[in-house]
Protein backbone atom coordinates (compact mmCIF):
# COMPACT_ATOMS: atom_id res chain seq x y z
CA UNK A 1 0.00 0.00 0.00
CA UNK A 2 1.38 3.43 -0.93
CA UNK A 3 2.47 5.94 1.75
CA UNK A 4 -0.34 8.26 0.57
CA UNK A 5 -2.95 5.57 1.20
CA UNK A 6 -1.44 4.62 4.55
CA UNK A 7 -1.54 8.22 5.74
CA UNK A 8 -5.17 8.56 4.71
CA UNK A 9 -6.22 5.31 6.42
CA UNK A 10 -4.30 6.02 9.64
CA UNK A 11 -6.08 9.36 9.90
CA UNK A 12 -9.45 7.88 8.89
CA UNK A 13 -9.34 5.26 11.65
CA UNK A 14 -9.58 8.11 14.18
CA UNK A 15 -13.02 9.06 12.81
CA UNK A 16 -14.55 5.89 14.23
CA UNK A 17 -16.29 6.17 17.60
CA UNK A 18 -16.67 2.96 19.67
CA UNK A 19 -20.25 1.69 19.49
CA UNK A 20 -20.82 2.83 15.91
CA UNK A 21 -22.24 0.90 12.98
CA UNK A 22 -19.76 1.46 10.18
CA UNK A 23 -19.72 0.65 6.45
CA UNK A 24 -16.49 0.54 4.42
CA UNK A 25 -16.94 1.23 0.70
CA UNK A 26 -15.03 -0.67 -1.97
CA UNK A 27 -11.56 0.52 -2.90
CA UNK A 28 -9.39 2.49 -0.51
CA UNK A 29 -11.86 2.42 2.43
CA UNK A 30 -11.74 -1.37 2.69
CA UNK A 31 -8.12 -0.94 3.79
CA UNK A 32 -9.55 0.36 7.09
CA UNK A 33 -10.43 -3.24 7.88
CA UNK A 34 -6.79 -3.78 8.78
CA UNK A 35 -6.60 -0.67 10.96
CA UNK A 36 -9.61 -1.40 13.12
CA UNK A 37 -8.84 -2.41 16.70
CA UNK A 38 -8.94 -6.16 17.17
CA UNK A 39 -10.77 -5.64 20.45
CA UNK A 40 -13.92 -4.72 18.59
CA UNK A 41 -16.42 -2.14 19.82
CA UNK A 42 -17.58 -1.43 16.29
CA UNK A 43 -20.22 -3.18 14.19
CA UNK A 44 -19.05 -3.38 10.60
CA UNK A 45 -21.90 -3.56 8.11
CA UNK A 46 -21.37 -5.17 4.71
CA UNK A 47 -24.02 -4.48 2.07
CA UNK A 48 -24.24 -8.14 1.01
CA UNK A 49 -25.83 -8.96 4.34
CA UNK A 50 -23.64 -9.00 7.46
CA UNK A 51 -23.40 -6.94 10.59
CA UNK A 52 -20.28 -7.72 12.59
CA UNK A 53 -17.71 -8.67 9.96
CA UNK A 54 -14.07 -8.72 10.96
CA UNK A 55 -10.73 -9.54 9.42
CA UNK A 56 -10.23 -13.24 8.74
CA UNK A 57 -8.42 -14.67 11.77
CA UNK A 58 -8.85 -18.44 11.56
CA UNK A 59 -5.84 -20.43 10.44
CA UNK A 60 -8.06 -23.01 8.73
CA UNK A 61 -9.70 -22.88 5.29
CA UNK A 62 -11.98 -19.84 4.96
CA UNK A 63 -15.75 -20.17 4.74
CA UNK A 64 -16.19 -19.07 1.14
CA UNK A 65 -19.89 -18.44 1.75
CA UNK A 66 -18.91 -15.64 4.17
CA UNK A 67 -17.51 -12.77 2.09
CA UNK A 68 -17.50 -9.00 2.25
CA UNK A 69 -18.99 -6.81 -0.47
CA UNK A 70 -15.75 -6.96 -2.43
CA UNK A 71 -15.66 -10.76 -2.47
CA UNK A 72 -12.99 -11.30 0.21
CA UNK A 73 -13.60 -14.07 2.77
CA UNK A 74 -14.04 -12.65 6.25
CA UNK A 75 -14.64 -13.73 9.82
CA UNK A 76 -17.53 -12.68 12.01
CA UNK A 77 -17.28 -11.35 15.54
CA UNK A 78 -19.32 -12.68 18.47
CA UNK A 79 -22.73 -11.03 18.08
CA UNK A 80 -22.63 -10.90 14.29
CA UNK A 81 -25.80 -11.40 12.26
CA UNK A 82 -26.48 -12.27 8.62
CA UNK A 83 -29.58 -11.28 6.67
CA UNK A 84 -30.99 -10.86 3.19
CA UNK A 85 -30.39 -7.95 0.83
CA UNK A 86 -33.73 -6.25 1.54
CA UNK A 87 -32.90 -6.21 5.26
CA UNK A 88 -29.38 -4.99 4.54
CA UNK A 89 -30.59 -1.98 2.64
CA UNK A 90 -33.51 -1.36 4.99
CA UNK A 91 -30.82 -0.91 7.66
CA UNK A 92 -29.06 1.60 5.41
CA UNK A 93 -32.11 3.55 4.27
CA UNK A 94 -33.58 3.67 7.80
CA UNK A 95 -30.51 5.62 8.81
CA UNK A 96 -28.85 2.99 10.98
CA UNK A 97 -25.38 3.35 9.43
CA UNK A 98 -23.61 5.81 11.75
CA UNK A 99 -20.51 6.24 9.64
CA UNK A 100 -19.83 5.42 6.00
CA UNK A 101 -16.46 5.66 4.29
CA UNK A 102 -16.34 5.89 0.48
CA UNK A 103 -13.90 6.78 -2.26
CA UNK A 104 -14.49 9.48 -4.86
CA UNK A 105 -13.84 10.55 -8.42
CA UNK A 106 -14.95 14.07 -7.45
CA UNK A 107 -16.21 15.83 -4.34
CA UNK A 108 -17.29 19.46 -4.54
CA UNK A 109 -17.53 22.43 -2.22
CA UNK A 110 -21.25 21.81 -1.62
CA UNK A 111 -20.59 18.21 -0.55
CA UNK A 112 -21.87 16.63 -3.75
CA UNK A 113 -20.25 13.25 -4.49
CA UNK A 114 -19.44 11.57 -7.81
CA UNK A 115 -17.98 8.09 -7.48
CA UNK A 116 -19.94 5.64 -9.60
CA UNK A 117 -19.65 6.50 -13.27
CA UNK A 118 -17.26 8.12 -15.73
CA UNK A 119 -19.23 8.40 -19.00
CA UNK A 120 -17.45 6.63 -21.82
CA UNK A 121 -14.82 5.11 -19.52
CA UNK A 122 -16.18 3.43 -16.42
CA UNK A 123 -19.75 2.38 -15.94
CA UNK A 124 -20.00 -1.04 -14.28
CA UNK A 125 -23.00 -0.12 -12.15
CA UNK A 126 -24.16 1.48 -8.94
CA UNK A 127 -24.13 -1.20 -6.25
CA UNK A 128 -24.90 0.22 -2.83
CA UNK A 129 -23.21 3.56 -3.38
CA UNK A 130 -26.25 5.80 -3.88
CA UNK A 131 -28.12 4.45 -0.86
CA UNK A 132 -25.10 4.56 1.42
CA UNK A 133 -24.12 8.05 0.33
CA UNK A 134 -27.62 9.43 0.70
CA UNK A 135 -28.61 7.75 3.96
CA UNK A 136 -25.50 7.30 6.13
CA UNK A 137 -25.67 9.57 9.14
CA UNK A 138 -22.11 10.70 8.49
CA UNK A 139 -20.22 10.22 5.22
CA UNK A 140 -16.44 10.57 5.16
CA UNK A 141 -14.69 10.46 1.80
CA UNK A 142 -11.24 8.86 1.62
CA UNK A 143 -9.36 9.64 -1.57
CA UNK A 144 -6.10 10.92 -3.00
CA UNK A 145 -6.10 14.68 -3.43
CA UNK A 146 -5.56 14.46 -7.18
CA UNK A 147 -6.18 11.73 -9.73
CA UNK A 148 -3.70 9.76 -11.86
CA UNK A 149 -3.51 12.65 -14.31
CA UNK A 150 -2.76 15.09 -11.43
CA UNK A 151 -6.17 16.72 -11.88
CA UNK A 152 -7.92 17.87 -8.67
CA UNK A 153 -10.59 15.62 -7.22
CA UNK A 154 -11.76 18.37 -4.87
CA UNK A 155 -13.65 20.73 -7.18
CA UNK A 156 -16.07 23.63 -7.20
CA UNK A 157 -18.90 21.59 -8.81
CA UNK A 158 -18.90 17.91 -9.75
CA UNK A 159 -19.00 17.39 -13.52
CA UNK A 160 -19.38 13.60 -13.36
CA UNK A 161 -22.75 11.91 -12.70
CA UNK A 162 -23.63 12.35 -9.04
CA UNK A 163 -23.84 9.48 -6.60
CA UNK A 164 -25.80 11.72 -4.25
CA UNK A 165 -26.18 15.47 -3.72
CA UNK A 166 -24.94 17.29 -0.60
CA UNK A 167 -24.06 14.09 1.25
CA UNK A 168 -20.41 14.50 2.30
CA UNK A 169 -19.45 15.60 5.83
CA UNK A 170 -15.68 15.29 5.71
CA UNK A 171 -12.96 14.55 3.15
CA UNK A 172 -9.63 13.00 4.12
CA UNK A 173 -6.80 13.05 1.57
CA UNK A 174 -3.04 12.65 1.98
CA UNK A 175 -2.80 16.46 2.12
CA UNK A 176 -5.70 17.60 4.30
CA UNK A 177 -8.79 16.94 6.34
CA UNK A 178 -11.61 19.14 5.03
CA UNK A 179 -15.14 19.67 6.30
CA UNK A 180 -18.16 20.63 4.21
CA UNK A 181 -19.81 23.70 5.68
CA UNK A 182 -22.55 26.06 4.49
CA UNK A 183 -19.76 28.41 3.42
CA UNK A 184 -17.85 25.77 1.44
CA UNK A 185 -14.86 23.60 2.36
CA UNK A 186 -13.04 24.40 5.59
CA UNK A 187 -9.64 22.84 6.22
CA UNK A 188 -9.56 21.29 9.70
CA UNK A 189 -6.10 19.72 9.44
CA UNK A 190 -3.14 19.82 7.07
CA UNK A 191 -0.72 16.93 6.55
CA UNK A 192 2.70 17.27 8.15
CA UNK A 193 5.16 18.30 5.46
CA UNK A 194 2.51 20.03 3.34
CA UNK A 195 2.20 23.80 3.09
CA UNK A 196 -0.97 25.79 2.49
CA UNK A 197 0.14 27.04 -0.94
CA UNK A 198 0.65 23.50 -2.23
CA UNK A 199 -2.70 22.45 -0.82
CA UNK A 200 -4.54 25.32 -2.53
CA UNK A 201 -2.69 24.70 -5.79
CA UNK A 202 -3.85 21.08 -5.97
CA UNK A 203 -7.45 21.87 -5.05
CA UNK A 204 -10.04 22.88 -7.64
CA UNK A 205 -12.12 25.12 -5.37
CA UNK A 206 -11.71 27.72 -2.67
CA UNK A 207 -10.61 26.44 0.74
CA UNK A 208 -11.34 28.29 3.95
CA UNK A 209 -8.22 28.09 6.10
CA UNK A 210 -7.78 29.73 9.49
CA UNK A 211 -4.08 29.33 10.38
CA UNK A 212 -4.98 29.80 14.08
CA UNK A 213 -7.34 26.84 13.96
CA UNK A 214 -5.43 24.41 11.78
CA UNK A 215 -4.44 21.00 13.13
CA UNK A 216 -1.92 18.61 11.59
CA UNK A 217 -1.80 14.88 10.96
Amino acid sequence: MSPKHQRILRRAEREIVPGQVVNLGIGLPTGLFHYLPARGGVLLHSENGILGSQLLIDAGPPDLEMIDAGGTPISVMPGASVFDSAMSFALIRRGRIDLSFMGAFEVDSAGNLANWRIPGRFSPGIGGAMELAQKARRLVILCTHTDKRDAPKIVERCQLPLTAPRCVSRIITELAVMDVTSAGLRVAEIAEGTDIATLREQTGCELHIDPDHLGTF
Partner: protein
Protein backbone atom coordinates in the same frame (compact mmCIF):
# COMPACT_ATOMS: atom_id res chain seq x y z
CA UNK B 1 -41.81 -38.09 -1.80
CA UNK B 2 -45.13 -39.39 -3.08
CA UNK B 3 -47.41 -36.91 -1.39
CA UNK B 4 -49.32 -34.08 -3.07
CA UNK B 5 -47.04 -31.63 -1.19
CA UNK B 6 -43.83 -33.15 -2.50
CA UNK B 7 -41.64 -30.72 -4.48
CA UNK B 8 -38.62 -32.91 -5.17
CA UNK B 9 -37.80 -32.83 -8.89
CA UNK B 10 -35.09 -33.81 -11.36
CA UNK B 11 -32.62 -31.16 -12.47
CA UNK B 12 -33.08 -31.69 -16.20
CA UNK B 13 -36.89 -31.70 -16.02
CA UNK B 14 -37.05 -28.56 -13.87
CA UNK B 15 -34.74 -26.54 -16.10
CA UNK B 16 -36.48 -27.83 -19.24
CA UNK B 17 -39.55 -25.84 -18.14
CA UNK B 18 -37.65 -22.63 -18.87
CA UNK B 19 -38.29 -21.56 -22.48
CA UNK B 20 -36.07 -19.34 -24.58
CA UNK B 21 -37.02 -15.71 -24.05
CA UNK B 22 -37.93 -16.23 -20.38
CA UNK B 23 -37.17 -13.78 -17.57
CA UNK B 24 -35.21 -15.57 -14.88
CA UNK B 25 -34.18 -14.32 -11.45
CA UNK B 26 -30.92 -15.80 -10.17
CA UNK B 27 -29.82 -15.69 -6.55
CA UNK B 28 -26.33 -14.81 -5.41
CA UNK B 29 -24.02 -11.95 -4.48
CA UNK B 30 -20.76 -12.95 -6.10
CA UNK B 31 -20.34 -16.70 -5.70
CA UNK B 32 -22.20 -17.16 -2.39
CA UNK B 33 -25.82 -18.02 -3.05
CA UNK B 34 -25.36 -18.48 -6.80
CA UNK B 35 -27.20 -21.66 -7.90
CA UNK B 36 -24.33 -23.12 -9.90
CA UNK B 37 -25.86 -26.52 -10.71
CA UNK B 38 -29.08 -24.96 -12.03
CA UNK B 39 -27.13 -22.51 -14.19
CA UNK B 40 -24.86 -25.20 -15.63
CA UNK B 41 -27.93 -27.21 -16.63
CA UNK B 42 -29.46 -24.11 -18.23
CA UNK B 43 -26.24 -23.61 -20.21
CA UNK B 44 -26.29 -27.28 -21.27
CA UNK B 45 -29.90 -27.18 -22.41
CA UNK B 46 -29.25 -24.18 -24.67
CA UNK B 47 -32.11 -21.75 -23.95
CA UNK B 48 -31.41 -18.30 -25.41
CA UNK B 49 -32.75 -14.72 -25.57
CA UNK B 50 -32.96 -14.81 -21.78
CA UNK B 51 -33.53 -11.84 -19.51
CA UNK B 52 -31.66 -12.47 -16.27
CA UNK B 53 -32.17 -10.60 -13.03
CA UNK B 54 -29.18 -10.88 -10.70
CA UNK B 55 -27.23 -8.63 -8.34
CA UNK B 56 -24.10 -9.04 -10.44
CA UNK B 57 -22.70 -11.00 -13.41
CA UNK B 58 -20.43 -13.27 -11.35
CA UNK B 59 -16.99 -13.69 -13.00
CA UNK B 60 -16.61 -14.78 -16.62
CA UNK B 61 -16.16 -18.52 -15.97
CA UNK B 62 -18.74 -19.13 -13.20
CA UNK B 63 -22.40 -18.61 -12.47
CA UNK B 64 -24.11 -16.59 -15.20
CA UNK B 65 -20.72 -15.70 -16.72
CA UNK B 66 -20.74 -18.66 -19.14
CA UNK B 67 -24.34 -17.93 -20.20
CA UNK B 68 -23.36 -14.38 -21.06
CA UNK B 69 -20.20 -15.50 -22.85
CA UNK B 70 -22.20 -18.01 -24.89
CA UNK B 71 -24.53 -15.25 -26.06
CA UNK B 72 -27.61 -16.73 -24.35
CA UNK B 73 -28.50 -13.56 -22.47
CA UNK B 74 -30.20 -10.70 -24.28
CA UNK B 75 -30.75 -8.54 -21.23
CA UNK B 76 -29.40 -8.30 -17.69
CA UNK B 77 -31.20 -6.44 -14.92
CA UNK B 78 -28.58 -5.90 -12.24
CA UNK B 79 -26.74 -3.60 -9.87
CA UNK B 80 -23.03 -3.92 -10.59
CA UNK B 81 -21.15 -6.04 -13.15
CA UNK B 82 -17.60 -4.78 -12.62
CA UNK B 83 -16.19 -8.18 -11.66
CA UNK B 84 -17.10 -9.64 -15.08
CA UNK B 85 -15.05 -7.75 -17.69
CA UNK B 86 -16.55 -9.92 -20.45
CA UNK B 87 -20.04 -8.70 -19.51
CA UNK B 88 -18.80 -5.10 -19.31
CA UNK B 89 -17.30 -5.38 -22.78
CA UNK B 90 -20.50 -6.85 -24.23
CA UNK B 91 -22.45 -4.03 -22.62
CA UNK B 92 -20.10 -1.44 -24.09
CA UNK B 93 -20.37 -3.07 -27.55
CA UNK B 94 -24.17 -3.22 -27.39
CA UNK B 95 -24.19 -7.04 -27.44
CA UNK B 96 -25.79 -7.19 -24.00
CA UNK B 97 -28.53 -4.87 -22.76
CA UNK B 98 -27.84 -3.93 -19.16
CA UNK B 99 -30.35 -2.22 -16.90
CA UNK B 100 -28.64 -0.88 -13.75
CA UNK B 101 -30.37 -0.29 -10.42
CA UNK B 102 -29.11 0.74 -7.00
CA UNK B 103 -28.63 -2.57 -5.19
CA UNK B 104 -31.08 -1.92 -2.36
CA UNK B 105 -33.78 -0.69 -4.72
CA UNK B 106 -33.32 -3.82 -6.85
CA UNK B 107 -33.75 -5.93 -3.70
CA UNK B 108 -36.80 -3.96 -2.62
CA UNK B 109 -38.41 -4.11 -6.09
CA UNK B 110 -38.10 -7.90 -5.97
CA UNK B 111 -39.31 -8.12 -2.36
CA UNK B 112 -42.26 -5.91 -3.24
CA UNK B 113 -43.26 -8.18 -6.10
CA UNK B 114 -42.99 -11.08 -3.70
CA UNK B 115 -45.30 -9.22 -1.33
CA UNK B 116 -47.89 -8.64 -4.05
CA UNK B 117 -47.53 -4.86 -4.31
CA UNK B 118 -47.45 -2.67 -7.42
CA UNK B 119 -44.31 -1.00 -6.16
CA UNK B 120 -43.08 1.55 -3.65
CA UNK B 121 -42.07 5.19 -3.31
CA UNK B 122 -38.47 6.13 -2.58
CA UNK B 123 -36.26 9.20 -2.29
CA UNK B 124 -33.15 7.25 -3.28
CA UNK B 125 -31.49 8.69 -6.37
CA UNK B 126 -33.73 11.73 -6.64
CA UNK B 127 -31.38 14.40 -8.08
CA UNK B 128 -29.14 11.85 -9.81
CA UNK B 129 -29.27 10.68 -13.42
CA UNK B 130 -31.35 7.60 -12.60
CA UNK B 131 -34.26 9.96 -12.07
CA UNK B 132 -34.61 10.38 -15.82
CA UNK B 133 -36.27 7.00 -16.32
CA UNK B 134 -38.64 7.15 -13.32
CA UNK B 135 -42.02 8.73 -12.69
CA UNK B 136 -42.08 11.03 -9.68
CA UNK B 137 -44.76 12.21 -7.28
CA UNK B 138 -44.67 15.33 -5.15
CA UNK B 139 -46.41 14.75 -1.82
CA UNK B 140 -46.46 17.52 0.80
CA UNK B 141 -43.65 19.27 -0.99
CA UNK B 142 -41.34 16.21 -1.03
CA UNK B 143 -40.43 14.45 -4.26
CA UNK B 144 -40.73 10.65 -4.36
CA UNK B 145 -39.84 8.35 -7.23
CA UNK B 146 -42.14 5.45 -8.11
CA UNK B 147 -40.27 2.14 -8.22
CA UNK B 148 -42.44 -0.60 -9.74
CA UNK B 149 -42.11 -4.09 -8.30
CA UNK B 150 -39.97 -6.52 -10.32
CA UNK B 151 -41.22 -10.00 -11.04
CA UNK B 152 -40.04 -12.87 -13.26
CA UNK B 153 -41.19 -16.06 -14.93
CA UNK B 154 -38.66 -18.17 -13.01
CA UNK B 155 -36.35 -17.91 -10.05
CA UNK B 156 -33.26 -20.07 -9.61
CA UNK B 157 -32.48 -20.28 -5.91
CA UNK B 158 -29.54 -21.59 -3.90
CA UNK B 159 -30.66 -22.93 -0.53
CA UNK B 160 -28.38 -24.30 2.19
CA UNK B 161 -31.08 -26.68 3.33
CA UNK B 162 -34.49 -27.63 2.04
CA UNK B 163 -37.08 -30.19 2.87
CA UNK B 164 -39.11 -32.31 0.50
CA UNK B 165 -42.16 -30.08 0.65
CA UNK B 166 -40.17 -27.00 -0.33
CA UNK B 167 -39.26 -25.18 2.88
CA UNK B 168 -35.91 -23.42 2.43
CA UNK B 169 -33.09 -22.26 4.70
CA UNK B 170 -30.08 -20.15 3.78
CA UNK B 171 -26.75 -19.41 5.45
CA UNK B 172 -23.99 -16.82 5.77
CA UNK B 173 -23.69 -14.34 2.93
CA UNK B 174 -25.26 -16.86 0.59
CA UNK B 175 -28.63 -15.51 1.72
CA UNK B 176 -28.57 -12.15 -0.18
CA UNK B 177 -31.27 -12.08 -2.88
CA UNK B 178 -32.45 -15.68 -2.59
CA UNK B 179 -35.34 -15.24 -0.11
CA UNK B 180 -36.65 -12.26 -2.08
CA UNK B 181 -36.52 -13.97 -5.47
CA UNK B 182 -38.09 -17.09 -3.95
CA UNK B 183 -41.18 -14.99 -3.30
CA UNK B 184 -41.26 -12.88 -6.44
CA UNK B 185 -41.08 -15.28 -9.38
CA UNK B 186 -43.99 -17.22 -10.86
CA UNK B 187 -42.10 -20.53 -10.78
CA UNK B 188 -39.43 -21.09 -8.15
CA UNK B 189 -36.74 -23.77 -8.55
CA UNK B 190 -34.35 -24.26 -5.63
CA UNK B 191 -31.18 -26.33 -5.48
CA UNK B 192 -29.75 -27.69 -2.25
CA UNK B 193 -27.14 -30.25 -1.26
CA UNK B 194 -29.00 -30.91 1.99
CA UNK B 195 -32.47 -32.17 1.06
CA UNK B 196 -34.21 -33.28 4.23
CA UNK B 197 -37.45 -35.04 5.04
CA UNK B 198 -40.40 -32.88 6.06
CA UNK B 199 -40.14 -32.34 9.81
CA UNK B 200 -36.36 -32.07 9.89
CA UNK B 201 -36.55 -28.26 9.85
CA UNK B 202 -37.92 -26.56 12.97
CA UNK B 203 -40.91 -24.47 11.82
CA UNK B 204 -39.43 -21.22 13.17
CA UNK B 205 -36.15 -21.93 11.41
CA UNK B 206 -37.71 -21.91 7.93
CA UNK B 207 -36.68 -18.84 5.93
CA UNK B 208 -38.87 -19.40 2.85
CA UNK B 209 -42.17 -21.16 3.53
CA UNK B 210 -42.98 -24.08 1.24
CA UNK B 211 -45.95 -22.33 -0.40
CA UNK B 212 -43.57 -20.09 -2.37
CA UNK B 213 -41.52 -22.95 -3.78
CA UNK B 214 -42.39 -25.09 -6.81
CA UNK B 215 -39.44 -27.47 -7.23
CA UNK B 216 -36.51 -28.56 -5.10
CA UNK B 217 -33.48 -30.19 -6.71
CA UNK B 218 -31.04 -32.31 -4.76
CA UNK B 219 -27.54 -31.47 -6.00
CA UNK B 220 -24.05 -32.46 -4.84
CA UNK B 221 -22.19 -30.00 -2.57
CA UNK B 222 -20.66 -27.12 -4.49
CA UNK B 223 -16.96 -27.54 -5.09
CA UNK B 224 -14.06 -25.12 -5.11
CA UNK B 225 -13.96 -25.26 -8.91
CA UNK B 226 -17.13 -23.21 -8.84
CA UNK B 227 -15.41 -20.70 -6.63
CA UNK B 228 -17.10 -22.05 -3.57
CA UNK B 229 -16.29 -24.53 -0.87
CA UNK B 230 -18.86 -25.37 1.75
CA UNK B 231 -17.45 -25.48 5.23
CA UNK B 232 -19.49 -27.98 7.21
CA UNK B 233 -20.32 -26.39 10.57
Amino acid sequence: MSTPLGKSARLSEAIARIPSGATVMVGGFGSPGTPFALLEELLTQGQRELTLIKNDANEPSVGIGPLIAAGRVRRLITSHIGLNPEAVERMNNDRLEVEIHPQGLLAEKIRCAGAGHYGFLTDIGVATEITARRQELVIDGQTWAIEPALTADFALIHADMADEIGNLRYRATAINFNPLMAMAANHVIAQTHQLLPAGALEPASVHTPAAFVDEVIDTPPETSERGLHIRVA
